[in-house]
């Protein structure tokens, strides 16, 4: 009876036909599902990072704050540019690789000095005498590029990163020992500045990475970057701490990251130009240290910003900027990553 009921509903042929159809449909569904899942996995790089480090608005500069514009862009003559200085003329001195190249205002190389190791800081006197800090010693060149002297390494861990020359003295920032050395012009050490000393109220330099710059201000005081404290400190030649300005902040008026600014330049009227890494930006501060304007924001240094950001395996010790200012107020910015010198002039609308 039961068999008869089944036979009455499905013939063997119908049963086989339906089974084949259903198997086909199931198989097709499976193939489609597999294809969909493969497509989803095909480009995993397209999926957004749920843990992205978001700097968001900090990477945009308010255009109203940018008071400078690009006048000229000069390609660094050699790979791995590190530092920039201006000499009489103005001649543009660029330390890159194991060379110091001297460029004219159009960017043409007029002379070159070969070194045994990369120069990590430069300073040029009005007479054209060039002081170059190599990692552990200082070399002196005359105006024709002839080496006049090499001052021996003052300490075991010396790592020179900043130089400032006055009429009678040379000040050298030693990042390895977190101290500024005061030399006479013959290379004799006259004193040490900035070592932590509670009795003299000297806070001590915090230098997490080899960015430690200084300048000799027109007011007779030294200005030394204390990057770990995010400020610029003023010292007498004898090493007395006078005052400091600057604050840690990713906002435009402060110094961002763990350790900034990375370099310092002086304007003829005593104002300061600062350079930062991480969020690469160049800014102008008054002689008293109040934020005034932006020379170039993060947008101007896209390659530099990428150098230590996601999608680049390097860290921020590979980035950085350096700056110098000529007598006419033009700001020369060396981009260590892009390998060029930007000549920035004050916008016509901002002049006077």
């Amino acid at each position: 009876m039961k068999h008869g009921f089944i036979r009455s509903r499905f013939t063997r042929r119908q049963f086989l036909k339906r089974a084949a159809r259903q198997t086909g449909l199931t198989g097709l569904g499976g193939v489609l599902a597999l294809a969909a899942s493969r497509a989803a996995c095909a480009n995993p790089g397209d999926e957004p990072n749920p843990f992205a480090y978001d700097l968001g608005r900090l990477q945009r500069t308010d255009p109203k704050l940018v008071h400078y514009e690009l006048q000229n862009r000069i390609r660094a003559p050699r790979a791995e540019p590190r530092r920039l200085a201006l000499g009489p003329g103005p001649a543009i001195y660029v330390a890159a690789g194991n060379y110091i190249s001297v460029l004219d205002s159009a960017g043409a190389v007029t002379s070159e000095i070969a070194l045994a190791a990369p120069a990590r800081c430069l300073s040029v006197t009005p007479a054209g005498i060039l002081y170059a800090g190599l990692r552990d010693h200082i070399e002196v060149f005359d105006a024709r590029g002839q080496r006049q002297a090499a001052w021996e390494a003052p300490a075991k861990r010396t790592w020179f990163t900043g130089l400032a020359v006055t009429d009678k003295e040379v000040f050298a920032a030693d990042a390895g020992n977190r101290v500024v050395l005061r030399y006479d012009r013959s290379g004799k050490i006259l004193g040490r500045i900035g070592e932590k000393n509670k009795e003299r109220n000297v806070p001590g330099f915090i230098v997490p990475s080899p960015f430690f710059d200084l300048k000799a201000h027109q007011d007779g005081l030294l200005r030394v970057v204390n990057p770990g404290r995010h400020r610029v400190e003023a010292y007498t030649r004898e090493g007395d701490f006078e005052f400091a300005w600057g604050k840690p902040s990713a906002a435009i008026e402060g110094f961002c990251g763990c350790c900034n600014p990375v370099s310092l330049a002086l304007m003829a009227d005593g104002r300061f130009v600062t350079c930062e890494k991480g969020l690469p930006r160049v800014k102008v501060y008054s002689a008293q240290g109040e934020f005034e304007s932006v020379v170039a924001g993060v947008e101007a240094f896209s390659e530099n910003a990428k150098a230590c950001a996601a999608n680049d395996p390097s860290d921020c010790t590979k980035g950085g900027l350096d700056a110098a200012v000529d007598a006419d107020g033009r700001v020369y910015v060396l981009d260590l990553v892009a390998g060029d010198v930007r000549v920035m002039v004050r916008k016509a609308s901002r002049q006077g």
Partner: protein, 192 residues
Amino acid sequence: MEPAAPNSPPVSRRQFLRQGSRAAALTGFGALFGVLAQRTSARTTVWQIDPAKCLRCGRCATECVLQQSAVKCVHSFAMCGYCQLCTGYFVPEPNDLNTAAENQLCPTAAIKRSYVEDPYYEYTIDENLCIGCAKCVEGCNRFGNGSLHLQVRHDQCVNCNECSIARVCAGDAFRRVPTDQPYLLKTKGHGE
């Protein structure tokens, strides 16, 4: 001594069976040895991340077959600046430089900040909390020396034949390394 009969077989049935079973036993032993040798060879290498290639893409946290990733942040103290404002620890715009939750970058609060002396602080990773998301690594690399980096922890990694993170690693940073040197730690000094 009687000479062998000229038409007798060179190997008797008993000898044949004896030699056959010996040969079979030797073959089986060889096969077993081969399998074991192969397994041992597969265990002589393990997965590791090359920090020089890591792009901090976040997939180590999401793609590991384990519920909590075997990839952890490790800290190269020799490279660390012991910064007061550590960009691997603090969000880009902290309210204050303290340990309040809203100021911490790590989504699981896996980094411990402890005072050393003014103005230095030490940062250590609690691996029980770390999920290997690389957010701190990105912060440290973005502004600092890059002392924080990711490594596969071999006390947790199950050493899959095909690592599911390696399959999608954006920087192709995963590679097999010898078990006797299972870590690729950053040791390079500042700016070197």
